[in-house]
């Protein structure tokens, strides 16, 4: 447009977002032609704005809560195919696994029925079944989490 240094709004917006997400108070950027300084507001009250801007600061605060970090280590066993989820090989048989069970990698945890075929589904991880996420007899999508596994339980 012109050869004058223009304020690039897109860049500014990106900078502001950066500042907001990084949870910093002041950001100063100086180029050949442009100098930008961003200073964040300190709100005492609740965060509630209409827009998008900064994330709830608590989420990014690392040392905040012990239990929150725990959850993240759980690994899901997901459906590798579309099918009906069965916890047991037959209607009257015992379930392959129950909550709290220790499993090994390669151990069958359920069957998925598709097109009249029963497909045994092995776990890819070892650990303890923390929870069973799908209901017996329910249709499951590709990639749907079926079990939550704690791969390093206090053994």
């Amino acid at each position: 447009m012109s050869d004058h240094p223009r304020f690039d709004l897109e860049e500014l917006r990106a900078l502001i977002r950066l500042a907001a997400e990084a949870d910093i108070e002041e950001l100063e950027v100086q180029g050949a032609h442009v100098k930008v300084r961003i200073k964040k507001a300190r709100h005492a009250g609740p965060a509630g704005h209409g827009g998008e801007a900064p994330r709830p600061d608590a989420a990014a605060t690392p040392g905040a809560g012990g239990t929150a970090v725990q959850e993240h280590r759980y690994t899901p066993i997901v459906a590798p195919m579309v099918g009906t989820f069965y916890r047991a090989a037959k209607p009257d048989a015992a379930p392959f696994v129950n909550e709290g069970d220790m499993i090994e990698a390669g151990q069958i945890v359920c069957v998925l029925e598709a097109m009249k075929l029963f497909n045994e589904i092995p776990s890819e991880v070892a650990g303890r079944i923390v929870s069973i996420l799908a209901e017996n007899g329910a249709p499951v999508e590709y990639g749907q989490p079926l079990f939550l596994v704690d791969p390093s339980p206090a053994a």
Partner: protein, 455 residues
Amino acid sequence: MFNKVLIANRGEIAVRVIRACRDLGIRTAAVYSEADRDALHVRLADEAFCIGPPAARDSYLHIPNIIATAELLGADAIHPGYGFLAENPHFAEICQDCKITFIGPPPEAIHKMGNKAAARQMMRKAGIPVVPGSPGPVRDEAAALAVARTTGYPLLIKAAAGGGGRGMRVVQSPADLRGAFAAAGQEAAAAFGSAELYIEKYLTEPRHIEVQILADGRGNVVAIGERDCSIQRRHQKLLEESPAVGLSPRLRRALLRAAVRAATVVGYVNAGTVEFLVEGTNHLYFIEMNTRIQVEHPVTEMVTNIDLVKEQIKIAAGERLSLPREIEAHGHAIECRINAEDPARDFLPSPGQITAFIPPGGPGIRVETHAFTGYTIPPYYDSLIAKVIAWGRDRDEAIARMRRALGEFDIGGIQTTIPFHLQVLDNAFFRKGEVYVNFVQRRIDLGPAGRPRSA
């Protein structure tokens, strides 16, 4: 009528089929790959089920997951759209075995028309002209040279199982034939798993004209007018129109009659398209039949007011065709395929996030799209992001409206074929109706002039 239809496809055609189902009061089940989680067809369908990872072979082409989904969700029919499994006779058979209605022709018809060389032979026997050439697959270079003596040069080598230009070669002289034959065979083997080739007379300035047919399996086969799809680039259609400009009533009647005959011979049911090359004012040659709904079906809908996808579903549900034998076309319709490709850079795919998307509207404009502001085009599938269809009382009005619509179509964040289409629409030869399959190659400068211009 069906209770629930599963749409085994994605993109604009999945949205199109959902709309037809809605209009008929049928529930819809979408399937999607992990790359299409936020896709419009997923949002619009009554239900949606993830069937696999992004790669098409593991999702949209993964027959067991699709059939299982239909069974799990209680769909009593599957619409395959176009591409993916639409022309896979094996899939149609499995549907049949699983008591799920395949919304399309019987597996046998797909199979018969799927082998292009065999189809050509069958059509010739039925008295439909085909491009002069080898009666069937050509074994080797010696046989090719023998055929060439009857067709003359230039001639065309084509893959028997192919389509879309792969495994295809134009040969100018006997000296070139040997190398071209070997190269085409390798390409065909790689692309289609079969190295079978056949040979045809090469027509110099033919038009690609196709006829839409509907058959209800109760003896009613109706031709729903023709489409001119001559505006192609590397055998990919880019702009289609109906009716075909300047076609004599006699030749038009001959095309429609040949199409009905082709469909009848093959025992066709449901919607299909019989493609011809037309040379001069008298000669038509059958080239192939597409046993599915076509990308360009809306131009036929606009000039006939027949909803072809609704008709597909009704036929599959066993309803009798309730159309007159002679369909009258009114006005003129043009479709432009808007692809996420950069026409200034040899139509390089341009996937990415669409940062702005304001589709055109107003009188005479129809838009078929699955895109919206903020949508990210996944790199795994085809580049079609929208079809703009313009209708006018005559071809000039349709062209004017299309130019207006493309001029106002605001797509940000990616490159599209809109500048290419504006260039075609402004071309004096196009405006006169002088189109043929090598039109783009001969008449359109795809250099820097292909860049966006102000409309």
